[in-house]
């Protein structure tokens, strides 16, 4: 896996939005969706600007309180995971216009928490299948078994 080069969100198959400190990422190609919180949101938003690994690490180190090596290791692991999940492309040149936003000097750092990519594959059946797909055969209130949520990348 590659942490060299510039990272780009794989558009148009990957769509995402951030609201109230949570980023929801949807992979339209395979029906899997994800959630990122804490530093993961900042890292994702920096990726959207087309940052490379060094820029990501420098920015996150300015924003969070932790040993630089721990931050750098976490970012590397998250980037590898995001690539494995097919959410990112790596290019040798910067594709996005402009530069990653600069954290202002004197920014009050907050405690670093590991970025965890929560993965949900419970809706994959919606793709190409009967679109009406509801309660299990016994009817309500019998629960359909949840497809489940996992933390991916060995960080959670």
């Amino acid at each position: 896996m590659d942490t060299l080069g510039y990272f780009n969100i794989k558009k148009p198959d990957v769509v995402h939005e951030t609201i109230d400190g949570e980023t929801v990422i949807v992979n339209l190609e395979n029906g899997v969706y994800y959630s990122l919180r804490n530093s993961g949101v900042d890292i994702w938003n920096l990726i959207e600007t087309g940052a490379n690994f060094e820029e990501l690490t420098a920015e996150i180190t300015k924003r969070y309180r932790a040993a630089p090596d721990d931050i750098s290791k976490s970012i590397r692991e998250l980037l590898i995971t995001l690539q494995k999940e097919g959410l990112l492309q790596v290019t040798s040149t910067r594709r996005t216009e402009g530069r990653a936003p600069q954290t202002p000097a004197g920014y009050k750092k907050i405690k670093f928490e590991l970025p965890v990519l929560e993965k949900y594959s419970d809706m994959q059946e919606l793709l190409l299948l009967d679109p009406i797909h509801e309660v299990d055969e016994d009817g309500w209130p019998n629960k359909v078994e949840d497809g489940g949520q996992t933390n991916v990348g060995g960080q959670g």
Partner: protein, 364 residues
């Protein structure tokens, strides 16, 4: 807007494709001695459905009956609909063979039914395997076509929620967003019920209906975020599965529309035919609820973050709509930021579910 991928094909080839298929619609019209127009107010805009032959009318119009309006001369969208069996026609053999091959080589079909080679910014084409529905729209002229081989073979979910793809493409262009959610409430305001299938959306909507709340949707609807968040009903359909569900709703049980097909299908009800006073064409959205089936007796509301609401609403919407992408999720983000979100922990005492929702609405 729905993003068409840039295939690099000349624009006039897409238009020629649209005209080619339209010529076969016209053949069906001629063979059926004309057409029948029906008009519906979708969102707050007039939509014309022009049927060649009678095959599709009884299949597709009951779910939309509450939106029917008198003839209008300026429809915002015109859809031309036909099936081969009732019109005694065929699709052009080259297209027919191509669609058959998509059934065998479905890898060439987009995951949500998109035919990417026949889709650009202006012309969108989708083919839904299973019911084998061909949908095409010209977004510049607001003209669309809907074709199936045999109207009699349409599955219950298409009869219950017809024309989803075409209405989604059109809505996307016109400031509405097609979403996967239920909606119940009062004329002054109501709630959306979001979440994937099996979470209790339909049940919640139906216990609310039986308690006298207005019903706008159990599955699909349109929303607008400006000037205030507002939901528009699309289908007056309700669906139940299994005898246990039918016993649970004794008021509805006598009105199943597809009694002869309950072995394989869900029970489908057209509420406009039996409870027209409770079918709503829309209301302002006051909150978004994520139903959750529990074993507890009481029904409770638990506040939840906007991110959790977006995660419940966006994927199940996006995975069902050909071409839906970044614009759709942006609209849904805006919507979940405008109103509070709650987990609706569904109690086993279902009579308390509408009370809980009414309590929330009266406090809001």
């Amino acid at each position: 807007m729905s993003a068409g991928r840039d295939n690099g094909f000349p624009e006039d080839e897409y238009l020629a494709f649209f005209q080619f298929i339209y010529a076969y619609y016209k053949k069906a019209e001629n063979k059926s001695a004309g057409y029948q127009d029906r008009f519906f107010s979708v969102g707050d805009r007039p939509v014309r459905l022009r049927f060649a032959g009678n095959g599709l009318i009884p299949a597709l119009t009951p779910a939309l009956a509450h939106l029917e309006i008198p003839l209008t001369n300026a429809p915002d969208l015109s859809v031309f609909l036909w099936d081969n069996v009732s019109t005694g026609t065929e699709l052009p053999s080259i297209i027919s063979r191509y669609l058959d091959s998509l059934g065998e080589w479905w890898i060439h079909l987009g995951k949500r039914g998109e035919i990417n080679e026949l889709t650009n910014e202006r012309i969108h084409t989708a083919y839904h395997l299973g019911p084998n529905i061909l949908s095409i729209i010209d977004l510049k002229e607001n003209l669309a076509m809907y074709w199936v081989k045999d109207a009699q073979a349409l599955p219950y979910y298409e009869i219950g929620s017809p024309l989803r793809t075409i209405l989604h493409w059109w809505a996307d262009r016109g400031a509405y967003q097609f979403i996967h959610a239920g909606a119940v409430g009062l004329a002054a305001g109501g709630v959306l019920l979001a979440g994937k299938g099996g979470t209790g959306k339909s049940t919640t909507a139906l216990v609310c209906l039986e308690a006298g709340l207005m019903y706008a949707s159990d599955d699909y609807c349109l929303v607008k975020t400006d000037p205030v968040p507002f939901v528009y009903s699309l289908y007056n359909t309700a669906k139940l599965r299994g005898d246990l569900d039918l016993e649970r709703f004794p008021l509805l049980a006598p009105f199943v529309s597809n009694k002869s097909r309950l072995e394989s299908d869900k029970a489908v009800f057209f509420l406009q035919q039996h409870f027209p006073q409770l079918v709503s064409r829309g209301f302002p959205i006051k909150a978004i609820l994520l139903p959750l089936v529990t074993d507890q007796k009481e029904t409770r509301l638990r506040p939840v973050t906007a991110g959790a609401v977006l995660a419940a609403l966006a994927p199940s919407t996006l995975f069902q709509l050909p071409g839906a992408g970044s614009t759709a999720i942006k609209t849904m983000k805006k919507l979940v930021g405008q109103v509070p979100g709650y987990i609706l922990e569904l109690g086993t005492d279902t009579a308390k579910i509408p009370e809980t929702i009414l309590g929330l609405l009266s406090n809001g």
